[in-house]
Symmetry: C2
Subunit: 662 residues, 2 copies
C-alpha cells in the first residue's frame, strides 16, 4: 500500500496508480513474457529505462572504478555447489515459508504476518474513523482481495502497540519466532481462512546443472561477491601485492523469491554493483582520502536510536562519526560519503536519503559494522546500498574449504622473532610415497592454523602419525612422524602473512532506479489537465533533447535534417516529433519521458534567426544558432554547464510561438 505521507518532489500527494500508469505508458518497463502470461518477479526494461540504467552504470563506473582506481572484474553467474556450500549460502540463504495444508498454497511467513497485522491495524483505523483518501482505496482493495467482509474492528491500545512493535522488528525474527507469532496471534491464510503449517526454510538460489553427467550441481549466484573473493590472488597479482586494493563488479544476480512483490523492489533477477575493498586489519582501516571528506555531513540513524524506537537520523560530519566510533572506521566512513555523493550525482533527493545502522542481531555474525543507504519512496524506506565491514570472513571460509592460500604475504621492514608451530615435510622421504599428490599435501599443511598445528602435534606424539583431509584427493592422508615434523620453535620472520578484511559497498541498481524515478516525478498544474513530469538531470536523461518543427510545413524539413546531422555528429541522443498535435502537447509528451531540452524550428529559423531551446522544468527558452544550441546541450549533458549558464549567455527569449501552447 502506498505510504499516505509520501509526497512528490513538488510536495503533492503521490498516487501510485498514476505513477505506474506513466511508467507503463512511456514503456519504461513491463512484466516479462506478457504474451505467455506474465511471470511474477521478472521485468523487461524498455528503451528509456534501459538507457537510464546504462547511464547510471557508466556514472557509477566513473564515480567509483575510475576515480578510486578499482579493478573492474566480471565473474561467472553460474557457480558450482561447493562455492556456495563454503560461503554458507546453501545452508543459510533462505526465507521461511508456510504451507496452507488444505489448498497447497505457499506463503512467505514474514509477508503473511505483515499482511494480516497491517490489515488488523487498518481495520482499527477505519473503526476509529482515521482512514481517508488513498488509504481508504487501498484498504478497500486489500479487503476485497483478502475477502474480509466483516466490519472494522477496534483494537485495544496495548494490542495495537504490540502489533506496531512486531511489524518494526519482524526482520529480526527467526523461523521459530515467526511460528510462535503465527500461533499466538491466530494468523491464518487470509485468502482461505485456514490455519497454516509451521514455517520451514526455503533456499532462495536458483539451482541448475553443469554438463550432462548430473554430477555438477550449480546455482545462479545471489550476489556477485563470491566470484570476487575467489579471484583474490589474481587481483593481488594485478595490484603488484599492494593493499589496500578494491575490485568492482557490475553484474546480474538471481533470487528465487517465493512471492515477488513491490514492482522493481523485489524481483528474481537484478543488477548489482558490488565493491570489495581489501584492507590490512592492522592498518586500523584508515583511508588515504578520508581527510578530503571529513567535514561532509550525513544523516545517520544509529543502532541506539532505533532500539529506543526512534527513527530520526542525526546529521553529523563523517569525521565526528568516525572519531566517536559511531561508524567503525575511516574506510567505511569514506564509502558512506562517496555513496551519498553518487546518489546526488544521479539526482536522488537528499531529503529522501538516510544511512541506517544494522541492529546487532540483524547484522551477519562476522560483520564488524554495517550501514544501509536507504531511500524513501512510496513503499517506505528501502535498502538500496548495503555497506558492510565483512572482516576476514569470506576469504577465511574459502581458504578453509579449498586449502588454497587467500592471504597476503608482506615483507617486514625489520625481521621479527616469534614462537610458532612449524610443519616440515621431509620431501626426500615423502616424494616416493605421495608422488603426484605431494604438492596438494604441502598446500594443505601450509594452510593449517596455529591452533590446528598444536592439536596435530599432540596427535603425532600420541599415535606417531597424523591424518588430515587434502583438497583434491579422494580421502584423507596419513603422515608418519618420519616424514613430517611438527615443532614449536622460535623463528625469525622476515615476512608477515595475514588475511585482509573486506569493506563491501553493495548497490542494488534496480531499486536505486525505481526510487530515482519516484524522486524526480511531479505534476505540473495545467489549464485543462495536470501533466506528469520526470525531472531527470541532463547528465543521465535517457533522451537529451526533443526536436520539433513548429507545425506541419515542409519549409522546416531542411532545418530539422540539419539539426539531426549535427546532433548525431556530437553524439547527443534526441527524438523528433513531427506529429500533428500542438507544440504544447508535444512538449508535454517529452516532459513525461523526462527529456530535459526541446529545440523548436519556427518561421524565424527560416529567416536565419536560429532556433529556440526550451528547458523542461522552468519552461523558459533561449534563442541561438543551431551550432550554439547543440554545443549548449552537449555541455549541459556532460555536467560542464547548467541552464543558468546558458540563459546568462544567450538571454531569455520571451517571444516566439513555441511557448504559447503550454
Amino acid at each position: 500500500m502506498a505510504n499516505p505521507d509520501y509526497k512528490t518532489r513538488a510536495g503533492q500527494p503521490f498516487s501510485r496508480d498514476a505513477f505506474d500508469s506513466l511508467l507503463a505508458r512511456k514503456c519504461f518497463l513491463w512484466q516479462s513474457f506478457e504474451p505467455y502470461g506474465a511471470v511474477k518477479g521478472f521485468y523487461d526494461y524498455g528503451p528509456p529505462l534501459e538507457e537510464l540504467e546504462s547511464q547510471v552504470v557508466s556514472l557509477w563506473r566513473d564515480h567509483f572504478v575510475r576515480t578510486e582506481k578499482m579493478m573492474p572484474l566480471k565473474c561467472s553467474m553460474i557457480t558450482p555447489y561447493s562455492v556456495f556450500k563454503a560461503s554458507g549460502h546453501v545452508d543459510k540463504f533462505a526465507d521461511y515459508m508456510c504451507k496452507d495444508p488444505k489448498t497447497g498454497e505457499i506463503l512467505r511467513a514474514d509477508h503473511l504476518i505483515k499482511e494480516v497485522l497491517e490489515a488488523r491495524l487498518l481495520s482499527d483505523r477505519e473503526a476509529r474513523g482515521e482512514v481517508v483518501g488513498q488509504v481508504e482505496d487501498d484498504a478497500k482493495k486489500k479487503k476485497n482481495k483478502n475477502k474480509v467482509k466483516n466490519a472494522p474492528i477496534k483494537l485495544d491500545e496495548s494490542v495495537k502497540k504490540e502489533y506496531e512493535h512486531l511489524l518494526a522488528t519482524l526482520d529480526d525474527c527467526t523461523g521459530d519466532d515467526m511460528g510462535a507469532l503465527i500461533k499466538k496471534h491466530n494468523i491464518v491464510n487470509p485468502s482461505s481462512g485456514n490455519p497454516v503449517a509451521d514455517p520451514v526454510p526455503y533456499n532462495l538460489m536458483f539451482q541448475t546443472q553443469i554438463g550432462a553427467t548430473g554430477k555438477e550441481p550449480a546455482f545462479l549466484r545471489p550476489e556477485t561477491a563470491q566470484g570476487q573473493f575467489l579471484s583474490f590472488q589474481k587481483l593481488l597479482e594485478y595490484s603488484r601485492g599492494q593493499l589496500p586494493m578494491a575490485s568492482a563488479s557490475v553484474g546480474s544476480s538471481f533470487r528465487n523469491e517465493l512471492s515477488p512483490r513491490s514492482g522493481l523492489l523485489r524481483v528474481r533477477e537484478f543488477l548489482m554493483a558490488e565493491i570489495e575493498h581489501f584492507v590490512d586489519p592492522a592498518s586500523g582501516k584508515k583511508h588515504r582520502k578520508f581527510s578530503r571528506v571529513r567535514d561532509i555531513k550525513l544523516p545517520l540513524l544509529d543502532r541506539k536510536t532505533q532500539s529506543e524506537g526512534g527513527s530520526t537520523p542525526k546529521t553529523m560530519s563523517i569525521g565526528a562519526a568516525v572519531d566517536s566510533k559511531l561508524v567503525d572506521n575511516e574506510t567505511l566512513g569514506y564509502f558512506l560519503v562517496r555513496i551519498m555523493q553518487f546518489m546526488a550525482r544521479i539526482g536522488i533527493d537528499a531529503k529522501k536519503l538516510r544511512f541506517r545502522q544494522h541492529m546487532a542481531n540483524e547484522m551477519a555474525h562476522y560483520a564488524t559494522d554495517c550501514w544501509d543507504c536507504e531511500l524513501l519512496c512510496s513503499y517506505g524506506w528501502v535498502e538500496c546500498v548495503g555497506c558492510a565491514d565483512r572482516s576476514a570472513f569470506d576469504l577465511t571460509m574459502h581458504e578453509k574449504a579449498t586449502g588454497v592460500s587467500l592471504k597476503v604475504r608482506e615483507v617486514l621492514e625489520k625481521p621479527a622473532t616469534v614462537q610458532e608451530w612449524t610443519v616440515n615435510l621431509d620431501k626426500k622421504k615423502s616424494g616416493p610415497k605421495l608422488r603426484k599428490d605431494q604438492s596438494k599435501v604441502e598446500t594443505a599443511l601450509d594452510a593449517l592454523s596455529q591452533e590446528e598445528r598444536q592439536r596435530l602435534a599432540g596427535e603425532m606424539d600420541k599415535n606417531g602419525n597424523i591424518t588430515i583431509p587434502v583438497q583434491g584427493m579422494d580421502g584423507p592422508v596419513t603422515l608418519d612422524k618420519d616424514i613430517l615434523t611438527i615443532a614449536h620453535e622460535t623463528i625469525t620472520k622476515t615476512t608477515r602473512e595475514y588475511t585482509p578484511n573486506v569493506i563491501e559497498p553493495s548497490f542494488g541498481i534496480g531499486r536505486i532506479l525505481y526510487c530515482l524515478l519516484e524522486h524526480i516525478y511531479w505534476i505540473r498544474p495545467g489549464e485543462d489537465t495536470a501533466r506528469s513530469v520526470l525531472s531527470f538531470l541532463p547528465t543521465i536523461a535517457p533522451v537529451k533533447t526533443l526536436v520539433v518543427p513548429l507545425q506541419g510545413d515542409s519549409k522546416f524539413d531542411p532545418f530539422i535534417g540539419q539539426l539531426e546531422d549535427l546532433l548525431d555528429e556530437r553524439s547527443i541522443s534526441y527524438t523528433v516529433d513531427k506529429s500533428g498535435v500542438s507544440i504544447g502537447k508535444r512538449y508535454s509528451r517529452a516532459d513525461e519521458l523526462g527529456v530535459p531540452f526541446g529545440i523548436t524550428v519556427d518561421y524565424e529559423t527560416v529567416e536565419g534567426k536560429g532556433v529556440t531551446l526550451r528547458e523542461r522544468d522552468s519552461m523558459t527558452q533561449v534563442r541561438a544558432s543551431i551550432e550554439e544550441i547543440a554545443k549548449a546541450i552537449k555541455e549541459m549533458s556532460e555536467g560542464i554547464t547548467t541552464w543558468d549558464d546558458v540563459v546568462k549567455e544567450f538571454g531569455l527569449y520571451a517571444g516566439g510561438e513555441a511557448g504559447k501552447d503550454e
Copy 2:
C-alpha cells in the same frame, strides 16, 4: 591446435602458448572458481579485459543503438519453458553426444569425429615429413593426450581428400549422418580405444525452476532474441506504430556445452549483442540509408564458391551484391557494411575478416538469407556475428502459441476491396455463456488465419458448431452457430495487417574480444629478448596512459601528483609505475598491457620544460606542458586526433632520457 599458417600483425609466427601466457600474466582472464578446481567453459574477466569489454560495448551502443536510432531493451534471462517450446529450442537446440559404454565418458559427436580425423591427417603429414615447428609440438601433445603410440601412418590420397571434405562439411551433418560416419571410418574413443554408442541429442539449455511449487520449469536463455520478439507490441507502441524499427539488447546468454574448448571461443556463459530489425516485407526490405554505403566493398564468400570447394572471398561493392541478389536485400546489405565498419572501429584487422554465406542446408529452414562475419584467428575462421533474415518465423510462432496478435495494423491510404473469411461473435448471446473468458475467445478468433477460417466454416456447416483451443483456458471451447458466424464476404478494408519480417545481426562479444586480442598482438624484436605488444587503438585501450618518473627521486613526486589530478579531472584512465626497474622495462610492461601512451617526468620537467609523451607502436616521443599532453591524450582517446597530428603540433622529441633504455 594452432593454425600453423596464422601470423601476428607483424607477420611473425604465432605461438599460442606465448600468447596465452601473456593474457594470463597480465590478468586478462582466468578460469572461474580456480581455488575450487576450475570448471570448464567458465571464465572470469580480469581488469583489462573487463574494461575492454565495457569500452567495446559502449562503442557498439554508439555505432548501432544511437546512430541507427534503435530501441535498447533489457529482457529477462530466466525464461519459462513455454517460450522455448514455441520457439523450437526445447525440441531442436541440441548437440549430439556419444557415450563410451565401457567408461561412461560422454563425447560430443562432431568433436570426436574432428579430433580423430585431424589426428589421422596429422599422422599422414608426419609420415610425409611435412610437420615442422609449432605443429610438431602440438602433434606431440595431442598424441600424448590421445595415447597414440604408433608410428606415423600415411593415408591414400583419396582417403586424405575424403577426410578433408568431411571436416569442411561436418557442420551440416545430422545426428544420423554422424552415426554413419563414425561406423564407416572406425572412429573410436581416442582415450580408451572403445567403440562408442550412436549419437543422441542433448539439449544445450541450462534448466531451472521458478518458485517453490515445481510447476514452473524454466531455462536460462541461449540467446537474447526471444525476449525482444515477446516485447514486440511494446516496441511498436514506443515507436508510435512506425516501421521499420529495431530493438537492441546487450546481455548474457548461456549454453550448457558438452565439452567446452578453444578458450573464449566456446564457453557456457557469454555476452551477446543482438539487434532485431523489424521491416514490412512488402517494402522489399529497402533501407533508407543504403545509398550512403552502396559503393563500399566487402569480402564475400558466397554459397556457390563454397559448394565448389573454394574459400577465397570475392571483394565487391554491397551495391553490386544486392543488385545481383547475391545478398538478398538492402537492409541485410546495409547491416553487413555497418558490421564491417564496427570491426574497423575497434581495431580488427581487415585482412582477417570475411563474410561467409550460409549453405542452404546450414541455414535455419525459415531464414531467407544468412551471412556470418568471420574473423581469422589461430583457431581458424571463427563465426563472430551472424546476420540473418529470419522472415516472419519468430513472431508467427509466438502468435500461434499464445493467441496474442504480434502483427502491425496499418491505415491504408486508399481503402481496398477484398474477399475474406470473417468471424463474428454475437456478444449479447455469447456473453452470458463465456463470461470472463469472452475476451480470450475473441483474441483466439481474431488470430485465426484465412485458411483456418475456411476450414472452420466447413466444420460449422457440417456440425452446427466448431471447437477451438483458447490460450489461457483449460480446455478447448465449442461455439454454436447461433453465437458465431463465419462468412466469406466482400469487404472494404481501410487497414492492412501484416507480420513484420526480422533481420537479425547477432554479435558474440567474447569471440570478438578474443579475435581482437590476437589481431593486435605482435612481438617487438629486442636487443636481449623479444617483447610482446598489444596494439589497442587509443579509443578502446583499457588503460590510456602510463605515468612514470624517470627514476626514484622525490623531486618528481609533486609533478606525478599534479599529473594524476589532471588526468582524473579529464577522466583519462592511467597507471603509475614507480617501481625500481629501468624505464625501458616499465614501458615494456605497459606495452604488454596495450597502454598506448606513456608520460615521463624527468629532470627537464623539474626545470619547467614539461613532460615527454611516448607512443607505444612507433616508440617516438614529443615534449610539451602537462596540460597540452593531457589534452592530446584525451583527444586521441576520443578519436578526434591521431599521433601524427600530435607529432605535427609539437614536433618529434629526440633527446631526453626516456627512450634510452628501450
